[in-house]
Point group: C2
Chain length 307, copies 2
């Protein structure tokens, strides 16, 4: 007997990788997520642009890949790119790791020159909801956007919320989401200090901080860092900080070091089927299907591809 | 400038500890959670019973404290206590750590004798909803219990769901919740293999696994463990497993080693105020109060006391 908690995306992807589930096999129940991904077509996937892929190498080892979200935070994303190109982050460090909350990195002393970038920017907590924004509604009730089941959804891979009454849309603080730390004033951030969510979604931060991207690979290099013992999870001593060896855009890296990733498109029938396979799981393990899903419980499938 | 993501419980408790917030200070906005806890009375807290407090010492260092939930899983809790008293877990190991999901420990080979305990038990996925069950409704919409805003709440400190139509109640898979791993058959678990949630709440597991407790201190010793690289986060090699040095009930430990904890009662006016302080945060940092909260975003305040 080897009890295991549940069929998960990891297993699904493992099944996909070993190819032991063929789309042509007869299936007696609705397909699970592994089977759906296995049966996907190349057009169901989109390449993550090198220019929007931030690569963080930790001095202790490990590479964290972050897809930036210019559609939601154009000025912050442009600024983070300028900071990266100016090598601002190289040699800075993770200085805060708070259990079930966030990992935060940047210049603990806030003294390093920002070069051609800006130190602060006007907040981009939300954007206008217009026809240019792709949006696939999830269709489920949400604790933090309860007014309408059209509230939460996905915009080109990012978990998001839209409010048709306000004509506004914003990114949701799901695990892996990356934002710009700020001081008390809403316009006091700008991307010089960044954080990634490593716990249960702190959705109360929605519309209160500028989110600008999402970890798409390597979050475990952040989530396993030692927790800081000071208030808010700050490390007590500078010696505890976790240095960043270098931070680059994938487009800046030599071809041999450049990651190449595809993410499942969130505007396809395959995506709809994938979400449904997680909303109601029909694998034998489940005693009863759930019937509901929450925006932060739909992980974005991402796969490495040959360049 | 030192941007920080938000005022959190950690800070609140730190403020409480340093005593720099007096209940008598004039407050110009509604109180935040630190202020509410600071102004609490001894009767707002309950002692966690030594007999219901499981103490896990990891060989690598670190002590994880778990409060058991006999009100929801009486047979599983009794069985886990029998396993602990029989020293079943001593020398076993964490063999699975899946990112944003669970840490799982037990006998990877499923061969160790269980002594006076049972290897498997009938499932306790939910219990009868009757007058004996304390329950403080949260009063907010929930993605996984959307039919009624009375669905989610807290039962003697545990996040829970009740369904008056079914006359059933069950524990919710929030971060830190501990359950009994099982095989495909619902009755194939029993507590010989346990897991703790270390990521965004996998609420689709509600009513599909027997939950029997919650980590009340030391979850960081689980959540920082290296992730397993096999499917479902299992460690590839037995050498990667993280041994448990010993597992005891607090009541079994010599007085000097016995932890003494109090948890905030969840049936008091202080609790109601505490929840409201997290539903709508009025600290200067917040650009706008949220107006909503979700059951897994209300951490249970726990404090060490003198014996």
């Amino acid at each position: 007997m080897r009890p295991s908690v549940c069929i998960s995306l990891a297993l699904s992807l493992a099944l996909l990788a070993t190819g032991n589930l063929q789309a042509s096999e007869p299936v007696k129940r609705p397909p699970n997520s592994g089977e759906i991904l296995s049966a996907s077509s190349p057009g169901d996937w989109r390449r993550i642009a090198d220019e929007d892929l931030m690569v963080i190498e930790l001095a202790r080892g490990g590479r964290v890949l972050i897809e930036l979200a210019p559609a939601f935070a154009p000025r912050h994303v442009a600024n983070v790119k300028a900071l990266v190109r100016g090598r601002y982050f190289d040699g800075l460090a993770v200085m805060r790791v708070q259990e079930n909350y966030v990992v935060q990195w940047g210049d603990a002393e806030a003294r390093k020159p920002v070069g051609a970038a800006q130190r602060t920017l006007p907040a981009e907590f939300f954007r206008a909801l217009d026809a240019s924004l792709p949006f696939t509604p999830l269709g489920d009730v949400d604790a933090y956007a309860p007014a309408t089941t059209e509230g939460t959804g996905f915009s080109a891979g990012f978990p998001a919320v839209r409010d048709t009454a306000r004509s506004e849309a914003w990114l949701a603080h799901c695990p892996g989401m990356v934002g710009a730390g700020r001081d008390t004033a809403p316009d006091s951030g700008g991307g010089t200090e960044l954080y990634a969510v490593i716990g249960h979604a702190p959705r109360h931060l929605d519309r209160n901080v500028t989110l600008l991207g999402r970890v798409v690979q390597g979050i475990e290099h952040f989530s396993t860092l030692p927790r800081g013992t000071e208030a808010l999870g700050f490390y007590k001593s500078p010696r505890e900080r976790q240095p960043l060896r270098r931070v680059r855009l994938a487009s800046e890296l030599p071809a041999a070091q450049r990651p190449a990733l595809e993410a499942l498109r969130t505007d396809t029938a395959t995506w709809t089927a994938y979400v449904e396979s997680r909303r109601n799981r029909h694998d034998d393990w489940f005693a009863e299907p759930t019937g509901h899903i929450e925006v932060c419980n739909v992980p974005l499938p991402v796969r490495a591809i040959a360049r």
